[in-house]
Structures are given as C-alpha cells and as structure tokens.
C-alpha cells in the first residue's frame, strides 16, 4: 500500500483525480499519516463503521461511541455508511489497509459479510459487532457482539406487569402493538413478553397487530383495538413511537392513558420519556444506544489479546414514572 501511495503522490494531483475510483479507495489512506500506524504509537486505533443517521437513537449511539473513545484515549476513525452495505465493506477494507488495531461496525444488513471479515482475519485485525449481528456460520470471524437483548426487554416489560397485577383477581386484557412484522426486535420482544406474562394466567393478550414501529401505525391499530375490545386494561407497544400514536387514539376514545389503560413501551427515546414523566405511559424498558464505554472496554481487551465473551449485552435499565422524572433532565437522546 505504501508503495502505491508514494507513486501517486509523485505523479501529482492530476493522476490522482484521473483515477477517480482509486482516489476514493485511497482517500482514507492519507489520514493514516497523522498517526494511525499500528505499533508506531501506543494509542489504540479503532475503525468504526456506523449504519447511518436515520434516527435520534442512532445519533445518540454515534455520539456515545465518539465520546467514549475520547475518554478512553482511543483514536477513533469514524465512517458513516449511509445505510449502504457497499459503503460499509469499503470502509472496512480501508481500515484493513490502514492497519487499524481493532475494527468495530454496526452491520447494515445481516448477510454478505464473510469475505470482508475473512480479509480482516487474514490481516489479524480483531472485529467487534455492535448493535446488530451478522448471520455468518463461522463465528470465529468476529470476536464478540455487543448489543441490546430484545428478548430481555420484552421480558422486563412483562415482569413489571406481572408484579403490578399481582393483586388483580379478574382477567387483565392486554393489547399488543408489534413492530414491523418479521423484524428481530418485534419477534424477540413479543417472545420475551409472552414468556414473562405466562406467570399469571389472568394476563391475556386479547389482540396483537403490527404498527410498523411508526406513530401513524400505532394510532391506526389502536383505534380499532379500542372499538373491537370494550375492556382494554394494558397496552404493550414494541417501541415508544407506536405508544405515542396510540395515546392519541386512547384520548379520542374518551379514556385516560396511563390511568384507564396502563401503557408499557420499549426504547426510552426523548418523546417517550416525556410521556412517561407526564404519567401518560406507565413503564418503559430501555433499549440503550449508549454502548460507547462498554465498547471501548472490549476494544482494549481484544487488543491486549484477552478473551472476551462472544455476546455482551448493553447495560440497560427500566423506567417508571418517578424514575423518568428524575432521569429526563440529563437524558442524552
């Protein structure tokens, strides 16, 4: 690589511009002059490729990683893949060429990573997956996967409900707003919740429909739930946005959200936390994007050659109304 770079530099800018594709491929190389050579300095260099910036959640995720890297004294090379796998593969190849110490990325999609991950392994650069996993059969292609446990989020929601309804004698009717049909968070949250509420036979899911993780979807589905089921005690929404949409439907039906209908959601984004602090929601299981500090710990460990667990869960918590009031002022997303 170094040879090619010097050649190009000698031939000057014109040649570089002429070789348009090559230029993009190597544009990252120039940066490595500023001190990225492995072993040359004692600072660990981490190459990180982010999915994009599609939501407030993702932005908070990016900021957490950048801040944690700075705090841990790790040099971060950050790349935004803008929702495209080819961008991400290109970024990882760039990281390999730059000989970074550790590569971490949040895969845009699940499949198609084997080749580039093998290249990283051949270059002896450890890889960490964040937030989303890959479906490679060869688990040795990456060191570890750090991210939320969706099943656990559903289970925590269900356990809180079981605790709240311990004294209930009659049946408790639950309606569920699922995420996008077939998506991992929707499947897993549903599974975890169902497992938890099985502890109390009075708890019964009377209707469950997909609201596509959107406010409009949540509202439209809830409107029909309210008409089809005269007695709804609990709403379990797979994310805050669907719950926020459902709030409007509940109010329009002349009921008081949070009182007439207990509302449980997952995520804890800002608008959701506000609704919880206002008493319109009753409980939120967090799906935290703030995995930066944990990621940096893992980066240090794999760089030092220590063994790490193959699956690391993000540190997450749950919020009740009181906790939300306390947490809201310092909330980062």
């Amino acid at each position: 690589m170094v040879h090619i770079r010097t050649t190009i530099t000698r031939r000057g800018l014109g040649a570089l511009l002429a070789a348009g594709l090559l230029a993009t491929g190597l544009s990252g190389c120039g940066n490595s002059d500023t001190g990225g050579d492995a072993g040359g300095t004692d600072k660990i260099v981490l190459g990180f490729s982010q999915v994009g910036a599609e939501s407030g959640w993702r932005t908070a995720n990016t900021n957490s990683i950048k801040e944690a890297a700075g705090a841990a004294g790790i040099e971060l090379k950050f790349d935004d893949a803008q929702q495209k796998q080819e961008n991400q593969i290109k970024a990882i190849r760039n990281f390999i060429q730059q000989k970074v110490d550790v590569i971490a990325f949040s895969p845009v999609v699940e499949s198609g990573w084997d080749t580039v991950l093998k290249e990283a392994r051949d270059a002896k650069i450890p890889v960490i997956l964040t937030d989303r996993s890959v479906d490679s059969a060869d688990k040795t292609l990456y060191q570890t996967f750090i991210g939320s446990d969706f099943v656990k989020e559903g289970r925590l929601s269900g356990e809180w409900l079981v605790e709240q309804t311990r004294s209930a004698t009659g049946p408790v009717n639950i309606v569920e707003l699922q995420g996008t049909t077939g998506s991992a968070p929707a499947n897993d949250r549903r599974k975890g919740f169902a497992e938890a509420i099985a502890a109390n036979p009075n708890l019964k899911v009377v209707a469950s429909q997909s609201g596509d993780f959107t406010r409009a979807g949540g509202k439209q589905v809830m409107e029909q739930f309210l008409k089809a089921n005269p007695k709804i005690d609990v709403l379990f929404a797979h994310n805050d946005d669907m719950g926020l949409g459902a709030l409007e439907a509940i109010t329009a039906a002349g009921k008081v959200p949070g009182k007439d209908i207990t509302i449980i959601t997952i995520d804890a984004v800002k608008d959701g936390m506000q609704a919880l602090a206002d008493g319109k929601f009753n409980f939120i299981a967090e799906c935290s994007p703030l995995l930066g500090p944990q990621l940096m710990d893992l980066v240090k460990k794999v760089h030092a050659g220590e063994s790490v667990p193959t699956r690391v869960e993000t540190e997450e918590t749950t919020f009740t109304v009181e906790q939300a009031k306390a947490a809201l002022p310092t909330r980062k997303y």
Partner: protein, 356 residues
C-alpha cells in the same frame, strides 16, 4: 321480464357495481365478526366509530389518488407522491416547530403555504422532466421518489419532528359539523377537481392527451402544457395529503410518512376502473377504490387477522376485485361450460377466487 333483465344488466354492467359490491362484502364481513362494527355514536360532539375511522383515514389516500387519476389519464404515472407527502409534511412541521407560539394561526398558515409552494415546485420538476424533456414518466418520477425521501430526511435531520399545534392538528383529527375535517377537505378537493374536469372541457382534453398526445396536439390541444399541469396538480394533492398524515399524529417522520402511498394510490385508481394505458379516468371509481383499500387495512386490525397472514389476505381481496371487475374475466366465467375448450386454467382461476 326483458326490461327487468335490461335494468339488472345495466346495474351490474356499471363500472362502480363490482367495486361497490366488494366494499359492501368487506363491511358485511366485519359486521359478522363484530355486529357493532357499523355503529356510529356521538362522542364529545363528533361522530365516533370504525366507519368514521375508515372515512377519515382514507382522506389522504383519496387526495393522492385523485391527482394520480389525472396523471394516469394522460398515460403517465407519478411514483413521487409518497416522497412529496413526506417533504410537505416535514417542511410544515419543521416551520411550525420553530415558531415561538405553535398555536398561532398565522404561523400555521405560513407553514402550509411554504410547504405547499415547495410541493408545487417538486410537481413542476416532474412536469418539466416528462412534458419538456420527454423522459418516460415512470423514470422521471422515480427520480423524485428516491431523492424526495432523502430530502425529507435532510429537512427533519433524520429525526421525528413533534409539533404541538392546535390549528395544525385540526387538519388531521379536527371536526367540522361532527364530521372529520380531513374528509371534508378531501371531498371539497374532489368536488373542485370533478367540476373542473367534468363541467369544462378540461377532462376531455386530458383524456385526449392520454389517448394520443400527438393527435391531440394536431387537433389544437396544448398537450405538453396539459401533461405539465397534471404533475403539478398531483404534487399539490400529495402535499395536502402530507399535511393530513402528519397532523394525524402531530409529528413528521421523514422515513415513514407516505411510504408506499404511491402504490396504494395507483391501486385505488385501477380498482376504480381507470386504465393504466390512459385515455379515460373515473374520479368516482378512484374514491371507491381508496375506500376499499382503507377498509381492507382497517378490517385487518378490526378482525385481528394475524399480521403474518394479513398481507396475503389483502392480496387475495385485491386479486378478486381486479378479476371480478374485468369484463373479459366475467365473460369467461359466464361462458364456462363443461364442453368449452381449455377449461383447466379457467377452473384454476375460479378456485382461487372462491375463498375471497
């Protein structure tokens, strides 16, 4: 006898007969599932019930489909309406969210004017690509379909913009004379479009352009100007639909607002009996088509059909509507006798049809 038969044939032969039958069957199925489905009550001074939900939620689709009808009548297609919905909603919500007083009517009206203006520009962009430069409509509008979605995300910075504005909310969930405000707007727009196209020569001219642009030009119609115009009208309809959709949830989501609405709109137009080849259009059919699509979605929720099978359910109904509405298919059904040639494929089709 024969007059009765003639009358029956006239009714069953009407374009709207079969779509209306499907709509009624859907409503009947819901009523069987839950007898109170059709009941409408007065709550807080406005009407409340599943039927009202269907009418209110179909308002944006009716608007988008109206614009789409005109575009399709000229032999074109507009894939960018979903993105225009997202952009107009995002611009309006962003402007309102930056106002010191979100409830001020002036601020909301300025926001609407601004977003509407931008939508008209987007429509003009489509119009120029198709009518002036001569790019095929499906490609020309595909550009904005992709780019517009990106534009909407750029405007919202990829976040969901929440607004707390009473006047803006009214567009989506307000009421006028106990009726949802959204449907009043949709009906008003429908009326204007219907009067303009059917009480003047405009409708005929649009159909002439769709039938044969060159022939109509030679006959003295400014066909390019008409083509340009329908794309602008389509974007304008989409913009108002965007206001309704975002006002419905008081927030603009650049990713999700109006996603796939172009396909629903095309479907509504086709169900309504308008040919994709252009040359004719039926506004009343389009409205029935939009109502069928919304009723279908609401039915899935009201009957709690498993989300995994919901799409299949919708597909079966849509296929049934399209087939039953096709005169060729109905003729084939009537002719079908044991002795007819090639009965096998026909029988297959019949079987698929039954469960719907």
């Amino acid at each position: 006898m024969s007059t009765v038969r003639t009358r029956v044939t006239t009714i069953t032969g009407h374009r709207l007969f079969w779509p209306l039958v499907v709509l009624l069957v859907l409503l009947a199925a819901n009523t069987v599932h839950r007898p109170s489905f059709l009941s409408v009550e007065l709550k807080n001074g406005h009407l409340y019930g599943s039927l009202i939900d269907i009418v209110r939620l179909s308002a944006p689709l009716i608007l988008v489909a109206l614009g789409m009808s005109l575009v399709i009548a000229t032999g074109g297609i507009d894939l960018s309406v979903g993105s225009v919905v997202a952009v107009s909603g995002a611009v309006a919500c962003l402007y309102i969210s930056e106002q010191p007083d979100q409830d001020s009517l002036g601020g909301v009206l300025t926001a609407l004017a601004l977003a509407f203006g931008i939508a008209l520009l987007l429509g003009a962009w489509n119009g120029v690509l198709v009518a002036v430069i001569g790019i095929q409509p499906i490609i020309a509008t595909l550009i904005l379909m992709v780019a517009g979605r990106g534009l909407a995300q750029l405007i919202t910075s990829g976040q969901i913009i929440t607004v707390n504005s009473g006047p803006y909310r009214t567009i989506g969930v307000g009421h006028l004379l106990t009726l949802p405000f959204a449907i009043v707007v949709a009906l008003a727009v429908t009326l204007v479009v219907a009067v303009l196209t059917r009480r003047t020569a405009l409708g005929m001219i649009i159909e002439a352009v769709g039938g044969n642009a060159e022939a109509s030009r030679l006959a003295g119609v400014r066909s390019r100007r008409i083509t340009f115009l329908v794309y602008v009208v389509s974007a304008a309809c989409a913009a108002v639909a965007g206001f309704m959709m975002t006002a419905n949830v008081s927030s603009a989501d650049g990713n999700a607002a109006g996603l796939w609405v172009e396909l629903d709109a095309i479907l509504a137009v086709v169900i309504g009996g308008t040919s994709l080849a252009g040359g004719r259009f039926f506004l009343s059919g389009t409205i029935v088509g939009a109502l069928i699509i919304q009723t279908l979605t609401t039915s899935v929720y009201a009957m709690d059909i498993d989300p995994q099978t919901a799409l299949l359910f919708k597909a079966v109904v849509v296929i049934a509507v399209c087939l039953i509405q096709a005169p060729a298919f109905r003729a084939r059904l009537r002719r079908r006798r044991p002795s007819t040639v090639a009965p096998a494929p026909a029988a297959e089709k019949q079987k698929e049809q039954v469960p719907a």
